[in-house]
Amino acid sequence: MKSLKRVASVIGVGHTDWVSDWHRVRAGERPDDCYGYAAGALRNALADAGIGKEQVNGLIVGPTTAYERMAEVVGLNVRWGDQADAVLSVVQACMAIESGAADVVALVYGNDQRSVGTQYGGPQAMGGDQFLSYVYHAPWGLTSQGALYALMFRRFCELHGVSERDLGHVAVAQREGSSRNPNAIQRKPISLDDYMAAPYITEPLRLFDYCLINDGGVALIIAEAGLARKLSPRAVSIEAVGRFDLNQGATSLEPRLTDFYRPAQQAVAEQIFGASGLDPSDIDVLQVYDSFSVHVPLALEGYGYCGIGESGRFMREKGIGLGGLLPTNTSGGHLSESYMQGWNHQIECVRQARGECGDRQIENCRRVHYTSDVAGKAVSIIYGA
């Protein structure tokens, strides 16, 4: 995707108050539905961008709301539209802008998964209609997505010499970030001993390896690069995007278990680092889709931040916390900030690049790499200050 180099920039980010909604939902309230959370986030993103909604001419809605109804709720008639998950929304927005289909695109996402009791495990596992692997193995007792990552991690441990305690560095580092993030739901710092003392859910994964489930919404405003410079002094450039999918053998988990999605990540690394003229040492902050902690060591090895088989030592010795060599998921991510299915990570990328992260700001942050490997799709974005 070389043509998508620096064609667009993020000019606004917004989200709902998921901390206060977390408490309200736990008290039995339903503060909003998916559409309400998304609308709230869009209001905040437009205000952050300093534009009105009449300036938006493209719209992408997340997978949890219907496109037409979402657009109706927020009153947007647009000349181009689409529906996608977090990372692909950013990619599609860049493609729409490069093609001329739109030049100011709003990306909106809302999810009421906690207040409506969405199940990610069990016979009604959410997403089973899209991903056969989520439900196909139910006769043998495997339905939860955490279990897929537990299977992946057990083999990764054995082949790559990573220990369960090494993996604990992910949860500990992210909690360090969230402890300095007023927007994070779980802010109490934890130690490696706390991590190891927590119960197994699907062994070898423990409680702190699993993401939160909460309500909320996120919106981004992405504009054509030249227009973005005129509209906002704080525009954050999308330096490069890349994607590669491993679909063969997906239901029986073949690409997870044999290569840990690494060939896809390596193909994407060539696209993004080649396209931007950068290499992993130029990245100041890493953001990784973390439905489970396991995604982090996989990304470290897959994108060349360390050698194959070295992620355990990298996390232990170089560090992925705020003071480490490669600060990772500095907001707390899905494990500790908020489970917005990759959307909240985009906000953190933008805020780190803008230098607006307060106590958790990484000094001289110039480039942030976001990556996700959900269901065999390795996708990456490099954001630049």
């Binding site: 495990g121 069990g122 016979p123 056969l132 439900v135 196909y136 193995h137 139910a138 006769p139 043998w140 007792g141 495997l142 339905t143 939860s144 279990a147 537990a150 299977l151 992946m152 057990r154 083999r155 054995e158 119960p199 197994y200 859910i201 699907t202 062994e203 070898p204 063969q248 053998g249 239901t251 029986s252 988990l253 073949e254 278990l257 044999t258």
Partner: protein, 138 residues
């Protein structure tokens, strides 16, 4: 594995799945689709060969031997038929396909289960489903 009393959790029974379960019950052996044109084995069942796109296939018995790729222990109960703790494994069959199943006896970490040889054993569930599981073969 614990004694099964509740119904087997629901199987996905798409247009191509029925022969897998019928052979399991009637013959006590696992059959998989094998491409009539290129010989590639297929799992889960489906309409076309992933290797050559041929629609023609035959249901053929597999040897039942394989290698254990990974294993986990569930400590949380999601399904009535599976009170925790219980194991789930991934096996690569000698014919090529990978499948998810259970080990009849729970593995121990010091057995270093990954990479060990396993063989198929069909288990009759309480509700009559013939479920393919595995045991160590070495």
């Amino acid at each position: 594995m614990p004694t099964q009393t509740a119904a087997t959790p629901p199987r996905v029974l798409g247009l191509y799945d029925e022969p897998f379960w019928r052979h399991m019950k009637d013959d006590g052996r696992m059959h998989l689709q094998c491409c009539r044109d290129c010989g590639a084995w297929r799992y889960p069942p489906g309409p076309a060969c992933h290797a050559c796109l041929s629609p023609a296939s035959d249901w053929k018995p597999v040897s039942g031997g394989g290698e254990l790729l990974s294993w986990v222990t569930f400590h949380k109960q999601y399904l009535p038929a599976y009170p925790a703790p219980y194991n789930v494994i991934a096996v690569r069959l000698d014919e090529g396909p990978t499948l998810i199943s259970n080990l009849i006896e729970d593995p121990e970490p010091d057995q270093r289960p990954i990479g060990r040889r396993v063989r198929l054993k069909v288990v009759a569930m309480a509700d009559g489903v013939a479920l393919p599981r595995f045991e160590f073969a070495d």
